[in-house]
């Protein structure tokens, strides 16, 4: 069963994309690690918390929003907790659930780190592209995401909806009611 091979154009695209996927995380990690001793993923976590109402989210919600599995998040939060950036407490409304809340120290860290991180994102991605290309990339990435996450339990509209308005109505999964 000979598969359909890639033509030159497709192949070149894939080689480049693979290189980006390989190198980009490391580049961002390096900047964050230097400036705040944070992993790129750790930054995502505190960043998401900083935008949530009460700076609090349920672990499972946070896991979805950061595209990670629950075990991974649990480990990361444990570390962040031991560093005093995050605190965990049981959800009052569901004995199974755990809420993660950003501490004041965590908030300070995010505020101090965000500008540098945004600058890095600009340097490596946004400023390398024309506004038109940014739009193209958005559409392209969305199409790929749809394939990667058919159930789309992640970003697409879920996050953006939450994101636009700082606090917004009571969420379905009730981070903290």
């Amino acid at each position: 069963m000979q598969a359909r091979w890639l033509d030159e154009s497709q192949r070149a695209t894939w080689v480049r994309l693979a290189a980006v996927v390989e190198l980009l995380p490391g580049a961002l990690d390096a900047q964050l690690r230097r400036d705040a001793d944070l992993t790129h993923y750790e930054y995502w976590v505190v960043s998401m918390l900083s935008e949530a109402p009460e700076r609090t989210l349920r672990m499972s919600t946070l896991a979805q929003r950061t595209n990670a599995t629950l075990p991974r998040l649990s480990h990361v939060v444990s570390r962040l907790e031991s560093r005093g950036l995050v605190e965990r407490f049981p959800c009052p409304h569901d004995g199974r659930a755990t809420n993660a809340r950003l501490t004041d120290a965590g908030w300070s860290t995010v505020v101090a780190t965000a500008p540098g991180h945004v600058e890095a994102v600009r340097q490596y991605v946004i400023d390398a592209l024309t506004p038109e290309q940014v739009e193209q990339l958005s559409t392209i990435a969305e199409a790929i995401l749809a394939r990667l996450d058919p159930s789309s339990s992640l970003l697409p509209e879920d996050v953006r909806a939450t994101r636009g308005t700082g606090a917004r109505r009571t969420s379905r999964s009730g981070a903290l009611d």
Copy 2:
């Protein structure tokens, strides 16, 4: 010193791209691991060797072509060697250097694995896009790569130039990605 924040369009793009970068490697790893017990990076290594003249490359060259550091490559090749897919031998012309060569078993593995991998790349990326978008993505990824690797010791023309000559004509089936 308030940094330049991202506008909505830029931010949306970044969120999606970050998600892709986060999820794509795992998706490809899963397929390769299932079908051939290979990491995506390991596949990249044997794939590059399969396209090289004599199925042989110097470690440092191989490291560059796979966007990895030398230590990382060394570890990976050690594992591949212990599995009999690759063999190492000192370079005759430079006592410091080491060559890595794909064994027959390694070659068989690549041949057996390539179709499935290509199919996965199609499923997650290529087939999710229009031909026009594939072209756009190629340009975009190249622009980002230029920022990530200013010295460009990697892919851009280096690899492609080498690629045209080597195993390309010996075996057309060497086309992998």
